[in-house]
Symmetry: C2
Subunit: 349 residues, 2 copies
């Protein structure tokens, strides 16, 4: 992929909006794929236009992940559905310790969706794939009648290569482990909510969508085996991830509210909407449970990276109340941080 | 997966319909996944409830494919969206010569969708995966507000293992190659259309949805290198696949209409709707371009298999008009079979 082509105009073709026939398997679909998708992604695997991509990988362990994206609105401060779809699957793979290599993309388009918006999304996916150093190898497009889907939904699935020795999972978490967070929370969720509800914070709050594979590689390099579990706290926020950690590990996780970084504008927007930032989605952050003796070095590795400048040690693992997440509030009391029960923010990713 | 469990009731939980919170990343989503999805699929990779599945594969070539399913109606004679979603990706992988191994499933659910229908779809996917001998290893669920999607859309992506020497592609097609079709055409498309339009053919026309991996293995075994290209003629029918073959190979494909098997009820329904069966979708058929000296043996291998009993040699490859598909009609004239131009049958898969 040549950087100088990133902003090149993609041909729009004879139609200004998506037609049902663009999903029909015939000439129009063929042309849409050739003119728009292949120009956007420039991948030899896609260009073969076979029903599946083929490639060689070294033998051993692979990671495989899938995610559908239904975010509303499609375009929001700091990103869009296309960038989110690439970064999201890159991050899911990265959290297992894998190096993401190949992605597939599946589009469900609503009849009448403007081709110019589709083009913008495709270019955004191309840039995101280039940044994360993954290849978009396989694709599919379906079109449904106007009113039967909301503009565009995107599925990305991905394959990553796992180092033989790497096993990151919540069951590895031990008493004494330190809980690290790579930066400020709730940026993505509040960027989408503020845009959707027209709250006027657009200038101050941006999505944190970003590919975390490079950041993960850096912290796994600190010392073999020192990182016990990794997760990107998307839907349900850091509270949901930490509850999963606590449940699976059968240990208690204690958080310290004053150590959890939240941007002032994000905190303000949360307060306005009555939301607790620990439940709000992030798209470019990670939580790590790490061996205590390596916690400072891993924190240093996070902070040395552009995506981890605001990293902090926000809590620790103890064995007192298995399955519980508790948080010492800024005023000094302790409260239980349960898993999210109702729905706070639909269609946040 | 234990066969005796195939018809076991899955727990429905506290809600009769899908709630927005079932996609919110919190407790309700957690419970839905645990109670319904994990019980349905019983795969250790899914049961780990990690953000991605991990597994080992031998080094070498892999196939990777993705497809979204938006078929309307969800349930039709001979199958449903779940079975279609498993078989469709199994077949896309199989057409490259790969052995399908792992699938991912991504659901986009409309708020209010009956859990009982979701359960029916999941059980159908489980049966299909078992039959095709693939493991559902990764999953994702999103929920959108009522009216923002049509009941349920499913994406499946899949990974297959490719034998080192196997390269099936239209560019391999040579003059003299014989065109084989594994059975009757247009069954799937007409089953869906007749159900959707209430045409009353339901008793006579059933979808042909089926996993083709075993059938493909059998014909590839006949003689190494004898099969040059394989494709399952889904959207756009056999006409679109053969046009792709002719375009890529820069050769002409000649068909003989009287050799193309079509069930009488399907032919009748096509006539009633003014559709040409060569453009109608199939979901359990394959088209092969094969070396002429092995064509009869490959036809024999097809016919010896339950899914290829009606197989026929329906055409041949010549070099006269590169890129053209022509057909000798039953009355004896020749006509050009172009790629489908408009949209004939929206949401057929």
């Amino acid at each position: 992929m040549k950087p100088e082509n990133l902003n090149c105009p993609l041909p729009i073709g004879d139609h200004k909006t998506v037609q049902l026939a663009h999903g029909g398997g015939g000439r129009l679909m063929h042309n849409l794929i050739r003119d728009l998708f292949l120009s956007a992604f420039e991948s030899p695997e896609l260009a073969a236009m076979e029903d599946c991509a083929t490639f060689s990988l070294p033998g051993g362990r692979l990671a495989f992940s899938t995610d559908s994206y239904v975010v509303d609105p499609l375009f929001f401060p700091g990103g869009d559905i296309g960038e989110l779809a690439v970064n999201g699957t890159v991050n899911d793979l990265s959290m297992s310790g894998a190096t993401p290599v190949y992605l597939s993309v599946g589009f469900i388009l609503e009849e009448g969706f403007p081709i110019v918006d589709l083009r913008r999304i495709l270019l955004s996916m191309r840039r995101a794939a280039e940044k994360a150093e993954v290849v978009i190898a396989a694709g599919d497009t379906k079109v449904v009648e106007k009113g039967k889907a909301d503009k565009v939904f995107i599925n990305t699935s991905g394959i990553g290569v796992l180092p033989g020795s790497c096993t990151l999972r919540p069951a590895n978490i031990k008493p004494g482990d330190q809980i690290l967070l790579s930066g400020t929370i709730a940026d993505h969720g509040m960027a989408v909510m503020c845009k959707r509800e027209g709250l006027g914070f657009e200038a101050q709050i941006e999505s944190d969508t970003a590919p975390l594979n490079d950041l993960v590689a850096k912290i796994l390099d600190v010392q073999k085996g020192a990182v016990h579990a990794l997760r990107d706290p998307t839907r349900g926020g850091i509270a949901s991830v930490l509850n999963e950690f606590a449940e699976v590990a059968e240990l208690e996780i204690r958080l310290y509210e004053e150590r959890i970084p939240v941007r002032p504008a994000v905190a303000g927007a949360c307060e306005l909407l009555g939301l607790d930032p620990v439940y709000v989605a992030n798209e470019g952050k990670l939580i790590a449970a790490v061996a205590p003796e390596q916690a400072d070095r891993i924190l240093g590795a996070l902070r040395a990276h552009q995506l981890g400048r605001d990293a902090a040690i926000v809590g620790e693992v103890v064995s007192d109340h298995p399955g519980r997440v508790s948080m010492r509030t800024e005023v000094g009391g302790w409260r239980i941080v349960d898993m999210l029960v109702g729905e706070q923010l639909p269609r946040i990713c």
